[in-house]
Amino acid sequence: MHQFSSFLFLGGFLFFLSVLTGILPLGDPPMIIGQAIQNHGVSETGAANLVTAVVLGYRGIDTLGELSILFAAATAGGLVLATGKKKTQASADEDAGFIVKTAAELLFPLLVVAGLYIVIHGHLTPGGGFQGGVILAAAFFLPLLAKPSTTMNHNTMSLVEGFSGAAFIGIGLIGLFNHGAFLQPLLSKGVVGELFSAGTLPLLYLAVGLKVGAELAGLLANLNEEDDENV
């Protein structure tokens, strides 16, 4: 019965999707505000990537809300998962096989470089703090996957997370005191398309990237570590 209703829902959803795709032409959004942002976004914020211009320039406080939601979720996860007791060496999992260990060593620097590139070039190319942060978290989780006996330093993770979150709010507060609006873009906009352009947007995205990366790496490490209580 339960499976039948699932299939019924799936059929209805398929019908809905086919109707939607029949009406809309592919890749042609029916929006008006998009045109306005395309006309003025680059000149107003100095960011070549319009998505970053919206996420940090026009809707910076929404991004702060997103960050606080992520922070609350990661904190709740850590509260539930971390029981405080250290994993004993005897019950630690064995190291992974040769393929996983070699691949982890090989991929770690590449993933760190890719993640940092995506974070730092967030105002120029597609991507940004959230995407690059997740890649950084995956990079720092890889060694734990290869060698489960090693543990991640949670204090360092918390320090990075806290300082980057404070940096985001601090940049916003400087804008509030100097120009009368929270998260008002500061510094000169520079030449569009260069690395040092778009004012404070790259700094904000760097803070977002470090915060997301540290949070998610800590969450994954918590999930991985404390699995000895049901043994």
Binding site: H2, L26, F130, A138, F141
Partner: protein
Amino acid sequence: MIEWLLFVIVMIMLAGALMAMLMENLLAATVAASIVSLGLTVIFVFLRAPDVAMTEAAVGAGLSSLILALGLKRLGLWKLDVPSTAVKADAQEDGKS
């Protein structure tokens, strides 16, 4: 041309979703669920949304399946070979409670 490519990708995604629903091995179901995200990534690229495609690849295909797999490990369900009757009994108990 692009419609046919999209059709193939959507079919692969549907197959992955069905497998995620019907598989008795929970680890395989997790992998099947990540196939859906992978197909969605390609579709986002076709829709000229590389930002969303990046997020979908990193979060949907990578992180969420990693979290599901680690959850399975914590619950003691990380098994490569499960006798089908045991899983069914577990599922029925879950349904009752």
